[in-house]
Symmetry: C2
Subunit: 296 residues, 2 copies
């Protein structure tokens, strides 16, 4: 699929930008260790789906790719910080991520927590720079949206719901709410950020928000299906963990067949949302098909 | 001292603002627990020295108190997040703070980490709002400065140096560098933020930066003296911990007498830096005397 090549192309550019942002300067060894842990957490893997959505959303409005990459790098910092903290022993206690030891296994818990904190901080640092957008009011909009996507009404709130849910039996509505906050919020930010960079009108913003919402739910469903049915080597992290922990997923609640049907409907929804953009949105449509069909 | 009443007055306003920002909305219980942990970490104590410096610095340029309070509340969120994470078992392993159980003792480690994350995120959320400053470019400046003060070149970097230093023998220069990053950076932000809100000129900014630097070092020295000589009940947290952990402090390196002399010199420096502002800076001068002489 052409989409895979395009994803890989954007992923490389994002990787290079993150690498440039986190150059190990000549600093005392403790500080160098922190930067090393941040680099470990943020470089060397990941499909960079969120930056891809951001870049492609911005492209709909004629925004140059390079100027969307910085916002994409900031978004990836937030995503990777959340993985580092979620993997901690007191959270999900995961030891493998992307086929490698998780950050706290490689660097110790204290450095992993600090690296996550510093990545979250770096995200706002990047968004505050003129290289992200010349217009300060656009930068402020990106910062406000990212803070909301990552905060108590978004990712952190969703993780709190997830923690509280262990051993409880949640209904489908509650699981969907939790996943909207924990996972879909950053996809929603990606599309909203692209629209903000492109000074999109309200109609276009609404269309992209609908796309992001369907995309986010599809991504999570596909992830849960991989956890339920996948192969740990291909997936690059432990599988069947949700069931063994008694974690509620929509797959467990709906069953695999119904989950697959819902996934297909979400991809159709995602595509339909993009109708106003015509052919310009072809890659975003392909991206939705891609996440639904991925095997790792 | 009049300064104590003024500190208490500002502290009350900051407390009320933080209380308003973290209202427990009708949300699912996991999310409510997160907000409760954030409220625990950020409300009910603390001298609010950093917001005080911010408000007083802004006042030098005629900025209304109310409009500096929001930036002060954001700063306090960052300070309190750092306390929560630094207190964790894998960091400094502290069980008492401000005379109460630390956040991870009261709410568990996972909620404490998340509450810290969410407070850091909230800080940038607050700074992105028009209530902090009408002009978006001022908001962006505050965000950029806070991210730098909290990141790898500031607080997080300083904490990494602190972690790496345990069991090592650092020299006075290294300890001073670590404390500048870990502690003084937020005081420096406070004064720089006041100047930014007031659209101060370069000379005024430089004067305030010199004040903040002396203030920050004085604060840390006074803190180390309290740890070396203080009474746990009055201080509200464990004392003599630095020595028992083999943590390097300037007090341990210089000796109590020399540390006291240095502290007095720093207060003089802080005062002298404010000369350009004349009587308008009386409270900032008193604040420097106050932190140097505090007994808790």
């Amino acid at each position: 699929m052409a989409i895979i090549q395009e994803l890989e192309r954007i992923a490389k550019i994002v990787e290079a930008r993150l690498d440039g942002l986190l150059q190990p300067e000549p600093v005392p060894s403790g500080q160098a260790r922190l930067i090393e842990a941040m680099r470990y957490a943020v470089l060397g893997g990941g499909k960079r789906l969120r930056p891809f959505l951001l870049v492609e959303s911005a492209r709909l409005f004629g925004v140059a790719e390079a100027s969307a990459i910085d916002a994409g790098a900031a978004l990836e910092c937030v995503h990777c910080y959340s993985l580092v903290h979620d993997d901690l022993p007191c959270m999900d206690d995961d030891e493998v991520r992307r086929g490698r030891p998780t950050a706290h296994i490689a660097f110790g818990e204290a450095n992993a927590i600090l690296a996550g904190d510093a990545l979250l901080t770096l995200a706002f640092d990047i968004l505050s720079r003129p290289s992200t957008a010349e217009d300060a009011s656009i930068r402020v909009e990106l910062i406000a949206r990212l803070a909301q996507a990552a905060g108590t009404e978004g990712m952190a709130g969703g993780q709190a719901l997830d923690l509280a849910a262990e051993g409880q039996s949640l209904g489908a509505m509650e699981v969907a709410r939790m996943q909207r906050m924990k996972t879909a919020a950053l996809f929603t930010f990606a599309c909203a950020a692209g629209a903000a960079l492109g000074r999109a009108d309200a109609m276009a913003r609404q269309a992209l928000a609908a796309y992001a919402s369907a995309f986010g739910e599809a991504f999570q469903l596909a992830d849960d299906l991989l956890d339920a049915e996948g192969d740990a080597v291909a997936v690059g992290k432990a599988v069947a963990k949700d069931a063994s922990r008694g974690k509620a997923t929509l797959v467990a609640l709906l069953g695999v067949e119904a989950a697959r049907a819902r996934l297909a409907a979400l991809v159709d929804d995602a595509e339909a949302s993009l109708t106003p953009f015509g052919d310009r949105a072809a890659r975003l449509k392909q991206a939705a098909r891609f996440v639904a069909s991925r095997e790792a």
